[in-house]
Symmetry: D2
Subunit: 340 residues, 4 copies
């Protein structure tokens, strides 16, 4: 049995494990106030090309999303997201639990458009409605698509026009930036977003999301809110060690590049065999449409998520990870071909 | 420089590191729904001697406290804690951020007494006040003391009388149970508390708190609230691996026993040299009272927390951990003696 | 200038004013614990035909909605509502501010259908999503339509099937029940809903909503939550006096009947003159579609809300109230006819 | 039976009743956006002597407190109050339900001192604790005492020093300002506080609290939060009518002056008969200490609150109101004298 279920099913890459092992007799200050965390923050700032941004380390994505939005929004303010946005569907109402409404737009290919944002804002003119104050986007998105530079610039423009903060959920940002189709760099992200994070959990680390705050307006009090929401890890140096690894010699990009390449190999193999997908190849997640009987047969040897169940055919999700072996990809393609 | 600052300044014990390394090519289901997490849950249930309790794994203590209390309390209900209780002082208002008041009692030696609980409940007769619905205790407490069986039984009694849930924060439960002064076992804890947790972060793990729910009333919906508050770790199998280690061959107890023994050695050494403490030796935390000039000198070679600053003398906190070397304890004692 | 803007633009009916004036030298207990409030509660229970329901008086509708849902839902639970539901659109995120997601269905004619409820529940299978635990409906709805007995029974059935509480916002319940098209009575509402309220603010009182809780499951702690959310009126006897009036000699129904009749007169007059509406006549709110130039001209003498602005024609809302004079209705019809 | 239980046991003064009766055929805009509310706001601004403050009308005190503090505080921020402060004791955890901790100081005579504020702030140095960001005071206080100008100026100073907002709960502000012992005016309050409110519920109105925001920092978004928390009254013109009355020809002050005078008469009468009090006469609330048997006998003809029950003697609360008749005061004194 091999799993294409997600990109967080194995512990971590060897480099990270080794770094932790090497540190095991050291003593560090708690709560990411240690020297290795500082070093990791500096490496991130250098990669971004900006010295003036705050960098905070959190353990997971839902935690990062709710902490950032609790910080960004006043009580009556809402965040705009795609209907398919992770905060709207798969975080158990975490944003509402911080007191805020998630206002949704349909999106195009899983991406929020500037036009939708404008329409939504204009339709909320007074205090009987919530006040939209932030836009949440994911890159890569929940269906594996990625934003173009043009799309991000348009979002920035509409955010400036209506005084909205732009927040990018980068749980799979390494994968998005490493995509062969990407025309965006980390400095672009930092220039266009007010807050974003760089995910490590889904890119070869044990865990970890590095929240980067570029807009001064959103810097104050963040560590308080981290602590209050249970997100200030006692052994924060573990986050420092891992991000230090990922930002040394481009390791984070290399791991994502591998996952993306395996996904492309899988995509090409399946497509050449006639398989259809709900969205074109972009990053490490694929969403093929398969006959239900085929799904049943493949399930004997492979695990994957049923994304959208249908009566005759369904959409499944196949995810490649930092450690997906080429031979498993090829075996899956062969299995597919032999079964159709 | 050696640190007695806390018990979470080094990564983890060798056994845990090795277990993670051994698992590094495995694939697991996410969110602690994997087989190793199940195995760890079973070992914990067996150690407790009860098959009917729910076991959930969370990353940290503040997270565990707020998740458990969000689950236990209805909107108008409050939790009773000691003034010195961690949720009242050092969690940045996390419980209030879930909507609940922390009602405080003075406590005796850092411990909530049954009598105080009763008085507080009786003084809140109607809907103009919050309704106390749970009691929060820590064992060992924030000042290193431990509950006796008698004290816990009295708390259970008052909780039954007034329909309160009893919740024990066991961030340092291994240390409490391993104390030479303890007359309590884990089955006692499970019998007397409705919810408690067993801390691993401060006992040699990378991170992790195992929440045990023994009362059916509090079982429903807990994983939802974990997810909603950002506490459902994607790579939950890491928690499973660590707790599996700690509950294999008594590792958790052995680690705590070492920390306690080092603290006792330190306590005896200092006390014989004339040092006073704010509370007697109980577990791995010591609170000696030192002259401020002495503190300044010791600070050159040792790091520790100033617990309570005074004009001439102050209380410091010295913490021994799973990996505190005997020679560092002895060196500290010698340094103390040479400086007084 | 005459206003058809809403049904809460004048103080109150004479009967209520007189009752308050008569009481002005009396002394009452506070917080609706007085004898006149008890008397009003009894009259409501008798009208409903059930002695076993709890009746609470609140000042306004948003307050009632948020207090009831704060009471009904656990932290991870959500309420299902129509996209057009008041709690989803016009209460400034009040439900989210209590921590809960409002999950929406499209609805048919402003009404939630049982089928939609079932589909939504089935699509939320696990703890990564919120757990639907209540259904919110308004009767009459935000677009003036009313539920049939059959529709309510189907909702009750699906709620029973999936363990959902059924909560009816009756800000305009008197109007709905007094509609010539209604096949429902107050006892039906009480039998089919777990919680509902009877609005007085929009039916001739100064203010007031009487929350009725018929399901024991939802009774505990409600006064605490009222107090906590700022909804326990100090001079609660004012609510008692008003509801006592409305439930004496059918006053509440008479006032609503008048409003409904004026709306019907207005509807017939406009329709006979060729006017179209977005929904058929049901109760005291009408939603005609008018040419924008006509709207501009009518605005000189009449005030009303623009419900949905279009480029050439728009939907306006005309509301009749307990004190709308027949001649104002006729004048409006004449004005309409003279301007088209 | 005559009640000295509180100052909100009768509907309202004749002037207010008459004003509402006069308005009963008018039509007004909703939500306090009407002309009479504007007129009342202007009168309040003129009385204060400042044109640049925002004035909002809310129904009740708990509602005002929670709305103001929800607006003033960011998620990790706390409000400082007296242990006896209304928000800490008698509002069912309303502030905590908005997510914020109430940090308490002991106070002197029911009043927060500047020194206590400073000590509390200095003891919360980092993100493990909440961040104090506002100070809540009541004037008159919960035990009837009033702030001196000097005390308020010192509080202002410490608030400026530590960047804290100063919020005054004026549920009984008319009574405080009308006290013969007061050296403060409404312009003083406006100059020294960032936000305060002027209570009408306890001063002869049906209901109503006028929130005045003098600091620009706290103005944005307040109506949104009012709406969201259920505090934006549909028939807001009722609040406008009442405050217009209270600020016409000094009615509000006259009503309070009467209540204060009756309390003074009662105080003098009882004191001359040998009665002791827990605090000296200041405003319309008195707290005499009576023998429990005497309390029992007085209870046959008078109702009042038991403030602090003791074994042999207890503290009761006697409150005079806008409509307390002189003869009832004299009768009570006679009854007391005849029974001791």
């Amino acid at each position: 049995m091999y799993s294409f279920y997600n990109d967080y099913s194995s512990p971590c890459c060897d480099e990270i494990l080794e770094a932790i092992a090497n540190a095991r007799n050291n003593q560090y200050d708690g709560y990411s106030l240690d020297t290795i965390s500082d070093q990791a923050r500096d490496k991130i700032r250098r990669t971004i090309g900006r010295a003036d941004c705050d960098v905070h380390f959190l353990v997971g994505g839902t935690q990062a999303n709710l902490t950032v939005l609790a910080m960004m929004l006043r009580p009556h303010e809402a965040v705009i997201a795609c209907t398919s946005g992770h905060i709207n569907t798969h975080e158990a109402g975490s944003i509402e639990a911080t007191g805020h409404k998630v206002e949704t737009v349909a999106g195009v290919n899983g991406k929020v458009t500037a036009k939708e944002v404008e329409q939504l804002v204009l339709a909320r003119p007074d205090e009987h409605m919530v006040k939209p104050a932030a836009v949440y986007i994911s890159d890569s998105t929940e269906i594996g698509t990625i934003y173009t530079l043009r799309e991000l610039e348009e979002l920035r423009e509409v955010c400036d026009k209506y005084n909205l903060g732009l927040f990018l959920d980068g749980a799979r940002l390494f994968s998005a930036l490493s995509s062969p189709l990407s025309d965006i760099t980390l400095p672009d992200i930092a220039r266009l977003c007010d807050v974003f994070y760089i995910g490590a959990t889904k890119n070869g680390a044990l865990f970890g999301e590095a929240v980067v705050i570029t807009n001064d307006k959103y810097k104050d009090g963040f560590r308080y809110i981290m602590k209050q929401r249970g997100g200030l890890l006692a052994k924060g140096f573990l986050l420092g060690i891992q991000f230090d690894c990922l930002f040394t010699d481009g390791l984070g990009y290399r791991l994502a590049d591998h996952a993306n390449k395996m996904a492309l190999r899988l995509y090409n193999g399946l497509q050449q065999a006639g398989c259809r997908f709900i969205s074109p190849y972009c990053s490490n997640q694929l969403f093929p449409i398969l006959d239900n009987r085929l799904i049943e047969k493949l399930s004997k040897d492979y695990s994957f998520a049923i994304w959208e169940a249908g009566e005759r055919e369904s959409v499944i999700r196949l995810v490649c990870a930092f450690n997906t072996p080429e031979e498993k990809v090829d075996e899956f393609i062969s299995a597919y071909i032999s079964l159709i």
